[in-house]
Point group: none
Chain length 219, copies 4
DNA sequence: GATGAATGAGGATTCATTCAT
DNA sequence: AATGAATGAATCCTCATTCAT
């Protein structure tokens, strides 16, 4: 009906990457819905409808709802975690400001990532496959180490600072929808995102300031 | 069965109201499940099973799944919001430390509240009745006002501080389940909660500390 | 709630026929609903609500929904059939006008009877217990005999005349509800019922007129 | 399974539209059951079973039980009403005998129509869509006008004659099931239907015969 | 006699998934 | 690659009925 692939064998140029494109569009639609309604709340029919397909067509691209969900997580969360991992590793070369700006940029490009992660967090992360889990612990560990090095917070509170920062960053995106409805402002606009980035830098600055005489040019 | 009505006709103290108790237990079970799986992910059968009932019995106490969900939100969120509203109102009399400690205590008593709210936040809050919504905006407004008075943050970032604090507080409970699984520590233990409270006080302290000559001469 | 039998043992006069009255009121409510919605379409809850009772209270008066339905049929149809049977038997003494007027009066007193019978007729009469069935055949037979004696209609059409008369009489009440809604007139008002009675007399008159010279004073 | 698609790929004539056929068969099954048991008394499972389907498969063809019921009414009643409307309009060209014969033929082809209409009539016609309702009033009006022109019945009784005719025609089909069980004769056999048609013609004939000096000199 | 609570049976509906086309 | 049709499993919900109070 919608797709009228006239002749099945004539297009010579680009070998009809229509399939890939469709899969991508399915992922996009699924990302949006999974982010809003979670796994159980998302109906494949709605995903298909967003792409202009019927329900069963999704199975030409993904083996199951679970597979689709995993693919979304993989596609969306993986890059962010990779980025974080990279930042955390080469932490010596990057100022914390750079890390913040970089993270914010990564999340701003895929605002649904934060919401997907929140859903997983709420439900205990049953879907956070091992692959992804392996990333989280290291990231937290590294962050803990970095925070410890600042020698500002007592050891037993360092993980709480890290968790707080995590929540501030993630929560910003989580709250965006409701915030707009209640406060009337779009937290995902580029201005808002820039402001939040600036804010985060100052925010972290304050959290780790003090100590002897640590100037920002210190690290 | 579960309710130990000792003697069938003698209980003089509390008038036998097995019904109310059942409703309460249903709310408890529903709270737990809604908090973990969200509205769609929660099956009424599971709720009933937790109370030792069959599925249809729930309808003797709540008209529908929606009604049950609303009742849970109402019962759980309302008191917290009331508390917040009260605190925010009598802001002059309470130190910010008291507000923090009070809020933490309220949430610690009902750790699921934060998760329920997060679910609502993610899905756009379609279930947050107007009554409840009316509370949210004022609380944020008051918090904004209070934060503004500190004259620490520029006006356009005050809401971001407030939102961040909100996310830190709520996110702490949201992350508890996953945190335990990954970090092996129970954030809901009384020690952890006390630590978090202490941390939050210092946290806020730092965020609003009188700007210690923020590096005009510094950089 | 509704029934406030103040003291359980004091009323000396009439030995509290409240029970009977309740049963009667239940029958009334059930009659109305069964007539409108049929057996399956009628919910005991609705019946109870009409009497100001809760669902289970009906079981203090009737053993089951089936029993209640049978009781309604019994109470309502029986007298009409009895009347018909009596009329048909003593046909020599009654003019057809009297039979018509009598039947109409009986049905007018219980306008739901016709509708109950129609429901049974439509569904094949599974509930028309033997008792009631025994009545129908004789009534039709007698009516056939009476009609045959008029020597107006050919033998093979006599049953059709009888059936038609039956349908005219019963259908009048059946159509009342819809008729009012569409034509805006209440067929059950006393004026309408009188008019219909007069009409029926003339109607029958016409159907059986002709023949030699049968005058109304003939019989 | 049920549909004998002789060869799976050869049928040249009618383009394979198994779907439409299935929908048609569902309508058939639903018609039968709705006619007998009414809306509430009909279980979708039974409808599906008659077509050799499982319950949920019906939803591939009709959105809901209500939609299925409406579709049945629409499909079945509409043509009959259209026919009546047409007849009533071109009343000048058709003898009343033709109208009677035509109506009987239409109803004989779909004997369930009368029963469906009776169910609706009994329950107040909540399901008769406005579209269909619009037809009923005109048909009655036209019939009233036609009957009035005969100048046989007094004005206030004309609607009663029309209603009676309606009841005689519809009631014949309504009573068929029970009649067979009690009288042992099938009113829907072609002989019976022909006889009834003949009867109806004579019946109407008598009802509208020029008043043969109705016994002014008679009594 | 009335009712709150509980429930087995069932009924409409949804949904993920399969399969033939 | 897309889809109409079919379906098993499950879900929410209704209802008649029971029972203890």
């Amino acid at each position: 009906m919608t797709t009228a692939t006239t002749s099945p064998s004539a297009t010579p140029g680009p070998p009809r990457r229509k399939g890939e494109l469709t899969a991508e569009r399915i992922l996009d639609a699924a990302e949006t819905l999974f982010a809003e309604k979670g796994f159980e709340g998302t109906k494949l029919r709605d995903v298909a409808a967003r792409v202009g397909l019927r329900n069963p067509s999704l199975y030409n691209h993904f083996a199951s709802k679970e597979a689709l969900y995993s693919a979304v997580l993989e596609r969306d969360i993986r890059p962010v975690l990779d980025l974080l991992a990279k930042m955390v590793e080469s932490q010596g070369e990057l100022s914390s400001d750079d890390v913040i700006a970089g993270t914010m940029k990564a999340l701003a490009d895929h605002p649904n990532v934060a919401r997907l992660v929140q859903h997983e967090t709420l439900s205990g992360g049953a879907h956070l496959t091992g692959m992804l889990r392996e990333f989280i612990a290291p990231v937290f560990s590294q962050a803990n180490r970095a925070a410890t090095m600042r020698e500002v917070w007592p050891a037993d509170q360092v993980p709480l600072v890290v968790l707080s920062l995590y929540n501030v960053v993630v929560g910003y995106f989580t709250a965006a929808t409701l915030y707009r409805e209640i406060q009337g402002e779009d937290l995902l606009s580029s201005e808002a995102l820039e402001r939040q980035t600036r804010f985060l830098i100052e925010f972290v600055n304050r959290l780790f300031r003090e100590a002897p005489n640590r100037s920002p040019s210190d690290s």
